[in-house]
Amino acid sequence: MPETDLLWMSLLVFLPAGFAAGLLLFPSRWVEAMRWWALFGTAGTLSVSLCVLVGYYNMLDRQQDRSGRPLHSVHTRLDARADQAASDAARDVPRYLADDWVARRPWIDRFDVDFALGVDGISLPLAVLTALVTFLAVVASWKIDRSVRGYLALVLLLETGVLGAFLALDFFLFYVFYEVMLLPMYVLIGLWGGGRRRYAALKFVLYTLLGSVGLLVALIGLYSANVRDFVDQDEVKTKATMLQKATPGLTAEEALTRVEVHTFDFVTLSKVGRAVMLVLNGQADRLAVKPKTTARDEPTGADGKQVQLLSPGVDRAAAIDRLRAQAVCTKEFQYLMFVLLFAGFAVKVPIVPLHSWLPDAHVEAPTPISMILAGVLLKLGGYGLIRVAFPVCPWAANELAWWVGLIGVIGIVYGAFVAMGQTDFKKLLAYSSVSHMGFVVLGLAAWSAGSGSKYWEWGVSGALFQMVAHGITASALFFIVGVVYDRAHHRDLNKFGGLYEPMPLYSGLSAVLFFASMGLPGLCGFFGEFTVFMAAWSYSPALAVPAVLSVILTAGYLLWAWQRVYFGTNPGTKTFPDLSPREAAVLIPFALLAIALGVWPNLVMSWMEPSVGGWVANMAALKP
């Protein structure tokens, strides 16, 4: 009997793939029916994602923290839920109606890979965003008329890959989904794209593939760590008995000492990473064992100095010795893993200098694919940094934080400058994406601790909020380009102008989204950038100042573009019709969301922040 949350999350991930398979049954002449079918599928996925959101919010809301606030209980944090689920699994506790939104099933025994899905405030906003953007992208795809079946099937498959990557709690599963979405994207750009589509598609795949080889190496490297002191001890005992059975002449004690546990689980790997950070910083004495009772109190120890990472029932001294003896507990290993992970995700974000695939891919991709690419795929890079690179290798992340921040700032400033020089509308937006995603990196890197950990929390939640906001504005702006391209059949900024007159609705909605992208207060772009600035300032003014100044650049290129496209008079554009109802149906939700999130960031922050807070608390406690 499967758990209900497992059912919901699996449905969310595989529903698009199911609809893609369904497309194959349509007779090839029923093109319109296929479109509606795909629309229905993405709408269904969006509904399921909202159901998961409601379920998750309920779960948060039911528990209160020590001071009686709802939503902030430590027991609803991802790692607490995952630990509880793991120990329940080890004791075979039935969980038919579980609603902890963490579910795992054994998948590949040989490598202890689990089919593990879970949501928290970090992954869920991005998952909902994915479902929304894909839905609107399918609406925007109505004009695609070349092999519609293949196109829609690939879009749906892509959605499954992205949602799976966001929901995966197992590194291996994450990697599989991460790769699954690469191929649909390759074909979508390469087959339905513009003139240089084949070049752009190949470039996209080669860059991403190089990144994912880095991930693969890190995957195998991290798997080699022996995590026996960080998982439920009942599981270790079970493994020891199995080992004893398999090896004749082995006593129970020997088996228990010899048993090794390896895992791809993000939560466990992160615990190992944090323990390693303490050991490498010479603070092994702060490493503590979790109390056996599932006490309903805050998990930090009595004096606030202890970091409880080891599982209940572990011999602390032996565990630290075992950890020290491992390759994972060396500086070289941590540096190497962090660099591999960072580079792997940096390609996706994209971070300068690994960004050069992005302008090409954006320019050549058809409009709906650009929307998905900018709105969703880039977020996977940022999500990977938050979910994998930083928590799994915190020591190296801390050592290199300033440099990471510097890379982010370079991306912000460089992207803005290059965007200013573009005459191609889509290229301008592509470079503005590079610039905006730099804020995500900067926010993550603003690593400070102690009294400053509040600032870092701002930085991380700002980074996450920025990802959501950028997902909305960037998708919408690419659609805006698509609309005008459908009418003008070019994207040259210098040849536009005067669009305001024939297309007032279009121009009005564009204005909202342009200003949202610029970071105007009251619209969704402001909040994320502002909190990132706050965090960056408290971390290092040297990084914050150029980032803040780049706002002027951003305003400059966006306003200039706005002016060139919409103002003035232009006889060439006089006859353009205003938005069709279908086009309006795509843009209006984006514009409404941009306003809603700008006026009331709590719409997302209220359930996003507790998870971010937990994430930061875990990491910030590592610094003395």
Binding site: L191, V217, I220
Partner: protein, 564 residues
């Protein structure tokens, strides 16, 4: 020496021995039957593919049932025929794989119409004969039988390579293959005689203990041993098409029919990998149990293993780089085959049972994806008469099934999850990494670094191989149909038009349908084997357990096996 008591013992053993040998007997019977068919007019006139399918099907059934029994009876190794052959889970697994490869090849030939009716008897007799030789390679337990089996697998292959009569390229390929093969087997025979002469035995377990003892005493190689082993590996390297003994491979694959090339690339390679793994792991098992010093488990991986690993690294790099410039699909796939042999050698080189299990998984995936790729090449050849990249331009518009399945095969070769090729590659890489970790942990950091380097070479190669696989995908899916292709008249409507003179029964649209089903089944299996690992890893683990040393030493295999 045949004393009466010896003969008695042989006779009592014969019954059970023949039972173990049943799949081989079925195949041998099939060869004889196919040859006899030539004498009967009615049979001589008919296409004998059905007979081959029946023979291989029965053999496969018998082999699978045998595997089941072996699984039930605690997976014992039984030497039989006076120790010439060995029946263990490893040989049973690879034997099943070989029979499946042969069966799939025969089914493919039925779909593509090569061979035609006149030659079918000879063709299938050769194919079955080659399969028999390969099955013996996997079970050989004596150096003499190693040689005989290699020859038995090679000779039919030579003839098969040149089977397309009247094609200069085919004859040239066959001749090149023969010359290379003769040279390589001569060298191998020399190595075998050196080893057998030095140690006074060709029986592998005894030989392995003797080698281990001698190496332990000398603390490494002496020239004689080194020469003997190297020469044996030259012969195996030829079968594997490992650099620098790979020169025949692209030419032979280009000259031979795609079906034959597919069979050679899959079955022949599987048998060669299995034989190499058996030789090395038997040596390793003997070496690690013999050793008194803690270093002895690492003696062999640090010498022979490292050599094989370096050969594998060179092979995989060379194969991938050479494939970059190819425009003929069969040549491209030939170089890709060389590269894949290199990946498998990387896995074999670390000499752990875990790695052997990973290599077996790789073989399963490789069977499906490589045979599938060659099947598509054969079908496209039937439709367009061309085998170069230009013929694949815009294939997706002419025949979506061919293009999509080919894309899946190629992505699997590239190692994309969730396809079986990724599963195999991942396990091999993980095993190599694990061995590196084990070596570093056991006081051999130099060896550990070397294994890590092998791992890195494999990973980098995966990335660079993307380029040429994607080139084919790009031609098939992204390019517009080229004008250079002699496109069939009804190409836009008819998915896979088969040129009428090649079709077995001239059945028109029925063949493409069957071909689509064939390819779809292969692709579905490929996805299934990439998603559902557990049953296959259970089988490969059981097969590789044949090489776990009887007494457990915390040696190179401790890391991999101890966690379960």
């Amino acid at each position: 020496m045949l004393t009466p008591s010896n003969i008695d013992a042989l006779q009592t053993a014969l019954g059970s021995d023949l039972l173990l040998f049943l799949p081989e007997l079925v195949v041998a019977g099939g060869v004889v039957f196919l040859l006899l068919c030539r004498l009967v007019k009615a049979l001589d006139r008919s296409h004998l593919g059905g007979v081959a399918v029946a023979v291989l099907g029965v053999a496969l059934l018998v082999a699978v049932v045998g595997v089941r029994e072996a699984a039930g009876s605690a997976a014992v190794s039984t030497p039989y025929f006076a120790g010439m052959l060995i029946s263990d889970p490893f040989s049973a697994f690879v034997r099943t794989l070989l029979l499946a490869a042969a069966l799939l090849t025969v089914l493919l030939t039925l779909l593509t119409g090569i061979p035609d009716r006149d030659d079918s008897g000879d063709f299938y007799a050769l194919l079955l004969g080659g399969t028999l030789g390969m099955m013996l390679m996997t079970a050989a337990n004596h150096l003499m039988l190693v040689f005989i089996a290699v020859e038995m697998a090679s000779l039919p292959s030579y003839a098969l390579a040149g089977f397309l009569k009247g094609r200069r390229q085919g004859s040239e390929a066959a001749l090149k293959y023969v010359v290379f093969g003769a040279g390589a087997s001569g060298v191998m025979l020399y190595g075998i005689s050196l080893l057998a002469g030095t140690f006074g035995t060709g029986y592998l377990p005894n030989l392995a203990s003797a080698v281990a003892a001698r190496m332990g005493a000398a603390g490494g190689f002496d020239p004689l041993l080194l020469t003997g082993l190297t020469l044996v590996f030259v012969g195996l390297g030829f079968k594997l098409a490992a650099v620098p003994f790979h020169f025949w491979c692209p030419d032979v694959f280009e000259g031979a029919a795609a079906e034959v090339a597919g069979f050679l690339s899959v079955a022949s390679k599987a048998a060669a990998v299995a034989l190499t793994a058996r030789l090395l792991l038997t040596l390793q098992a003997a070496g690690s149990t013999m050793g008194a010093s803690p270093a002895s488990p690492w003696l062999l991986p640090g010498t022979v293993g490292l050599g094989v690993g370096i050969a594998g690294a060179v092979t995989v790099t060379f194969g991938n780089l050479a494939a970059f410039g190819q425009t003929n699909l069969k040549r491209l796939l030939a170089y890709s085959t060389i590269a894949h042999a290199g990946y498998m050698l990387l896995g074999v080189a670390v000499l752990t049972p875990a790695a052997a299990s990973a290599v077996l998984y790789y073989l399963v995936a490789y069977l499906l994806m490589n045979l599938g790729a060659f099947a598509v090449v054969a079908l496209v050849r039937n439709a367009t008469g061309a085998e170069d990249l230009a013929a694949y331009r815009g294939l997706v518009w002419r025949s979506p099934v061919l293009a999509v399945t080919m894309a899946l095969f190629l992505f699997s070769l590239l190692g994309f999850p969730p396809l079986a090729g990724f599963a195999g590659k991942f396990q091999v890489f993980a095993a190599v990494y694990d061995a590196g970790k084990g070596a570093s942990g056991a006081g051999r950091p130099d060896l550990g670094t070397a294994f890590y380097a092998l791992f890195a070479v494999g990973a980098v190669n995966t990335a660079i191989s993307a380029y040429y696989y994607l080139r084919v995908v790009r031609a098939m899916i992204l390019d517009a149909p080229g004008s250079t292709v002699s496109s069939p008249k009804s190409g836009a409507v008819d998915p896979v038009p088969v040129s009428p003179d090649l079709g077995p029964a001239n059945s028109g649209p029925a063949t493409p349908y069957a071909a689509s089903v064939y390819l779809t089944v292969l692709a579905a299996l490929l996805v299934a084997a990439g998603v559902v690992w557990n049953p296959i890893t259970a089988a490969t683990d059981r097969a590789a357990a044949a090489f776990v040393p009887a007494v457990r030493v915390p040696g190179p295999n401790a890391g991999g096996a101890a966690q379960r």
